[in-house]
């Protein structure tokens, strides 16, 4: 930015000329007035001291024309003053002559410069005439000073118009270019000071925040543009302060609630050229709402894919387990059958009067029965048992389930809350299967609350429109629910100990259980999951440790299948 020969340097150049000239006259020229010579030394010392002060003035002040020409003028006057003090010239007219030359140069325009020159030339000529210098032997040497004034002025005028003014014009042009760039860009741009007060803002920013013009915005601070939202303003200010602290660029993303827009903000320090310290901060904010939205979409899709993949793996596992279960069942049931028949035979042929034998036989039967029950449970996975989808009144189904669990509910001191939106909700499903699902969930809920103080079981049922893409709901053909469809949701919620986060992904897996070994088979939830799949419904869970668990069973409303028979 700084030109090679800056205004400040040119002032120092002039001052150097003054000092050298004065010193030259003191040292090498025989003085006319010896008394003044000491004043000359003092002048040099004093003048050099002022140089120290001038050096401290920041560069930018010299680009203020008034200050620059002020220096130019005063230094031009001091040049003849220095010569005068050196005692070289005895005539006051000499001083006046240079004073006139200096006064002429006050003007910054060529035209005024020339008018000044002519007026002062006339005054000076008149003074010479009054003193009688225009006659006599020295007339030529004095009168030649008048054209010299004009020549000096013209030369000086040439300098300011071509050099200095040209430089100013260039600066103006560059400024205009910068201004155009700043206004034409698609970003919000501003410069703020340490307190977040606006020093500059581009038109885009001014209109974005609803200001009529730049003047209304400048001088106000962040709280103005954030509609008085103190927290937001504080946050924005803290970023500005961090730029001042670090003396380095800071980048961050922010969300503007009032405009629903995401910004990527770049805060760059503006440094004082002389000290290098941060004097202000330039903030450039770019609208990245679209990018953020796309990113969010991508994240959602990835999440959905991940979920679907997990579910597919889960399904695969289930199918494999089903095949294995059916094989195991066959292999175990055959020997079980032989035990049954063999014990039947023994029972018939052994003497009746021995109670021990009778008891032993009973124990064997019990063991076989137990084994068979386990096999039955495992087989539920591979069983393609017949089920009938019928139209079922949901509330009566839920009441039945709760009645079945009534004994356990009472035994454990659980209070049951029923929250039904509509008493006449009708769903499409298989009564026995759904009863199995609900009973399983109710029993789980009761188990989860065993050691809890608060024992509250809530059963909710309501209609809902499908609005979100999720497991088995969306736009695909294979989905059970399409966006915009109606579904019926049953929530079974407890205030129990909750499901540990680690266990969450596994709860629908067969044989996974958090219950003690002899209490749960780990088949209930996986069976429920499979049943819901078969009934074109879904089962989800939300749980918080030590607060409770809610299962969401989403069912097909009977209205979607008008041909259904009433159960």
């Amino acid at each position: 930015m700084t030109p090679p020969f800056s205004r400040k340097k040119s002032i120092f150049f002039i001052r150097m000329v003054v000092i050298i000239t004065t010193a030259y006259f003191i040292l090498f020229t025989p003085a006319v007035n010896k008394q003044l010579e000491n004043w000359g030394y003092l002048f040099i010392v004093f003048y050099m001291l002022t140089n120290l002060l001038v050096a401290r003035i920041p560069e930018k002040f010299f680009y203020d024309d008034k200050i620059f020409y002020g220096f130019l003028l005063s230094d031009s006057i001091l040049l003849p003053a220095g010569i005068y003090f050196s005692g070289y010239v005895g005539s006051d007219l000499y001083l006046i002559y240079f004073l006139i030359v200096s006064l002429i140069t006050i003007s910054s325009r060529f035209k005024y410069l020339m008018i000044n020159a002519i007026i002062f030339s006339c005054i000076y000529g008149w003074m010479l005439y009054q003193k009688g210098f225009l006659t006599g032997p020295l007339a030529v040497s004095y009168s030649i000073r008048i054209p010299f004034i004009l020549a000096t002025t013209m030369f000086y005028g040439y300098l300011i118009t071509t050099r200095l003014k040209g430089k100013d014009r260039k600066i103006r042009e560059v400024q205009e270019q910068y201004e155009q760039i700043v206004q034409a860009t698609d970003v919000l741009m501003c410069i703020v000071n340490h307190d977040g007060n606006f020093l500059f803002a581009n038109q885009k920013l001014v209109t974005f925040y609803g200001y009529l013009n730049k003047k209304n915005l400048l001088g106000s601070n962040f709280s103005g543009i954030y509609n008085g939202d103190k927290a937001e303003a504080e946050k924005a200010l803290s970023y500005v302060k961090s730029v001042f602290q670090k003396n380095d660029m800071v980048q961050h993303e922010s969300f503007n609630k009032h405009h629903d827009i995401w910004f990527s903000n770049t805060l760059s320090p503006i440094r004082d050229p002389s000290t290098g310290e941060v004097s202000a901060v330039c903030i450039i904010s770019k609208d990245i709402t679209n990018r953020i939205k796309e990113e969010k979409k991508l994240i959602d899709t990835v999440e959905l894919l991940r979920k679907t993949r997990d579910q597919l793996i889960q399904k695969d596992k289930m199918a494999a387990l089903g095949r294995m279960a059916s094989g195991i069942a066959h292999e175990i049931r055959n020997p079980l059958e032989i035990i049954y028949m063999g014990v039947d035979y023994l029972e018939y042929n052994l003497p009746d009067d021995n109670p021990h034998i009778r008891k032993s036989i009973e124990k064997i039967f019990n063991a076989v029965n137990r084994t068979n029950n386990i096999i039955k449970n495992i087989l539920s996975f591979s069983r393609q048992s017949e089920y009938k989808i019928t139209q079922i009144p949901l509330i009566s189904l839920l009441s039945n389930t709760l009645a079945l669990a009534n004994h356990t509910i009472r035994k454990n001191g659980v209070s049951v809350y029923r929250e039904y939106d509509d008493e006449f909700l009708e769903i499409a499903g298989d009564r026995n299967m759904l009863e199995q699902v609900f009973l399983n969930l109710v029993n789980n809920a009761i188990d989860a609350m065993k050691d809890c103080k608060k024992k509250k079981l809530t059963v909710r049922a309501y209609k809902k429109l499908v609005t979100k893409i999720g497991y088995k709901s969306g736009y695909r053909r294979a989905d059970f629910f399409s966006i915009g469809d109606e579904m019926i949701v049953v929530e079974i919620s407890d205030t129990g100990k909750g499901i540990p986060e680690k266990a969450m992904p596994k709860i629908f897996e067969p044989f996974f259980t958090t219950k003690p070994t002899n209490e749960g088979t780990g088949l209930g939830l996986s069976l429920s999951h499979m049943i819901m799949d078969r009934l074109s419904g879904t089962i989800d869970v939300e749980s918080r440790e030590n607060q409770g668990t809610t299962f969401f069973i989403k069912l097909q409303p009977a209205s979607r299948m008008p041909d259904l028979k009433k159960a």
Binding site: S326, A329, I332, R333, I338, M341, D344, Q384, S385
Partner: protein
């Protein structure tokens, strides 16, 4: 019932055949013959003309459904009722296709106790 009921058991589990025979014959109500392979079972069915056949579904040489199909095709065995006794718990394994081929069939899942088995046999035979 004056005449005893002739039962043919076709099952590859020898021990199963042994005990069923023992248990059914104890009251003299049943006369039991056994075959431990599908082929032999078909031969016996033809030669012995049983009143009912207890048939296993999964055997090493033939599936129970195949045995039933062969019997159905032969005039002198076509009308003998068949009771499947199977360790495969899934009803799908017996399915619709088999039902078409074999006509009316009955299924009893394993394990089953003697009392239930006798009841089922008598029930089937009582039907017209």
């Amino acid at each position: 019932m004056s005449k005893s009921i002739k039962v043919l058991i076709i099952d590859d589990e020898k021990d199963f055949c042994y005990f069923v025979k023992k248990n059914l014959m104890r009251d003299g109500m049943f006369d039991v013959i056994t075959a431990t392979s599908g082929k032999y079972g078909i031969e016996l069915a033809e030669s012995e003309q049983p009143d009912i056949i207890l048939l296993d579904l999964v055997m090493p040489d033939m599936f129970g459904s195949e045995v039933a199909a062969v019997l159905k095709e032969k005039a002198d065995t076509a009308n003998i009722p068949i009771l499947y006794i199977t360790a495969l718990a899934t009803d799908d394994d017996i399915g619709e296709n088999e039902e078409k081929k074999t006509g009316n069939n009955h299924i009893l899942p394993k394990p089953v106790r003697t009392k239930k088995l006798i009841e089922t046999i008598l029930n089937i035979l009582r039907k017209p």
